[in-house]
């Protein structure tokens, strides 16, 4: 295989990586949650429980009404983070 072909493949594979975040705030929200959990302010499992609850509530609405007006994944992620910070008294 030629170098050019290999480079093209690697480039294609690199592009494969996009669409992890749709907007910069999603990346910041993710990083805030990860850093706070790594610093021991809460465990990732505690965060995941809130995230699952937000996603489940959204799924129910979507299954019933067929709308996504109540937000996408990182909206749920941010709600879960805000809720957990609230519960822990970290954001007052």
């Amino acid at each position: 295989m030629s170098d050019a072909a290999l480079n093209e493949l690697i480039e294609a594979a690199r592009l494969d990586r996009d669409h992890v975040f749709s907007a910069p705030w999603e990346a910041r929200a993710f990083a805030i949650a990860l850093q706070l959990s790594q610093a021991g302010h809460f465990t990732w499992d505690e965060f995941r429980d809130r995230l699952i609850a937000e996603v489940r509530a959204s799924d129910r609405i979507r299954a019933r009404d067929g709308t996504s007006d109540h937000g996408e994944y990182y909206d749920h992620f941010l709600h879960a983070l805000e809720r957990l910070l609230d519960e822990k008294g970290l954001a007052h």
Binding site: R17, H19, R28, S58, D59, L90
Partner: protein
């Protein structure tokens, strides 16, 4: 969702995140430089290239393949891939008869150290709700039509177990090196929604 959360919805998510970051930084709970480092790590350093190296090694090193199938967490750690959300990794292998597909029906569980963060479609309601009930239809949406006699196994990820699909090595790649093979392994193939294609000569 509670009333107090509706109140915060008045401003957009970008403004809320910015306010949150400012407040937590002021309280000494967050280090903005570390936030930048985490974003950089997950945007550019940890990603499906790691998993592709694991798959290419499994294709070319039978002893490694055996170790990967027996204990994927340890096998990927041999290549230096570990970290958050990487515990209890299970590798599942595609064959002529079996095709594996990974989903997280509850939210977004995904093996970060080998695949990075999940793509948008993996977290979508459409994918999460259909992967279990209609895997063949989901694969067709991704442009993958499997013969009727191929069994599709769907693995639902959880906080406890994450999955990595070892796709089939495509025909016509016998002369390729491990590094060249790693370059053709895609993220989608390691989630099970695509096959690995041999490069066109």
């Amino acid at each position: 969702m509670s009333e107090d959360h509706h109140n915060t919805d008045d401003s957009g998510p970008a403004a809320r995140v910015k306010a949150l970051e400012a407040l937590l930084t002021e309280k000494g709970l967050l280090d903005p430089a570390a936030i930048d480092a985490i974003v950089d790590t997950y945007e550019t350093r940890v990603g499906p290239r790691n998993g592709a190296r694991v798959v290419a090694k499994a294709w070319t090193d039978p002893a490694y393949r055996k170790r990967l199938l027996a204990d994927a967490t340890s096998a990927v750690a041999e290549l230096g891939f570990a970290g958050p959300e990487g515990g209890h990794l299970v590798a599942v292998e595609n064959t002529e008869r079996i095709h594996n597909l990974v989903v997280c029906t509850l939210c977004s569980c995904y093996p970060w150290p080998v695949l990075g963060l999940p793509p948008v479609w993996y977290k979508s309601f459409a994918y999460r709700s259909r992967a279990v009930s209609d895997p063949r239809g989901v694969l067709e949406d991704f442009g993958l039509e499997l013969p009727g006699d191929v069994e599709i196994r769907v693995w639902d990820s959880s906080a406890e177990i994450r999955y990595l699909v070892i796709p089939q090595r495509p025909k016509g790649t016998a002369k390729m090196s491990e590094g060249e093979l790693a370059a053709i392994v895609t993220r989608d193939s390691m989630v099970g929604v695509a096959k690995v294609e041999a490069p066109r000569a």
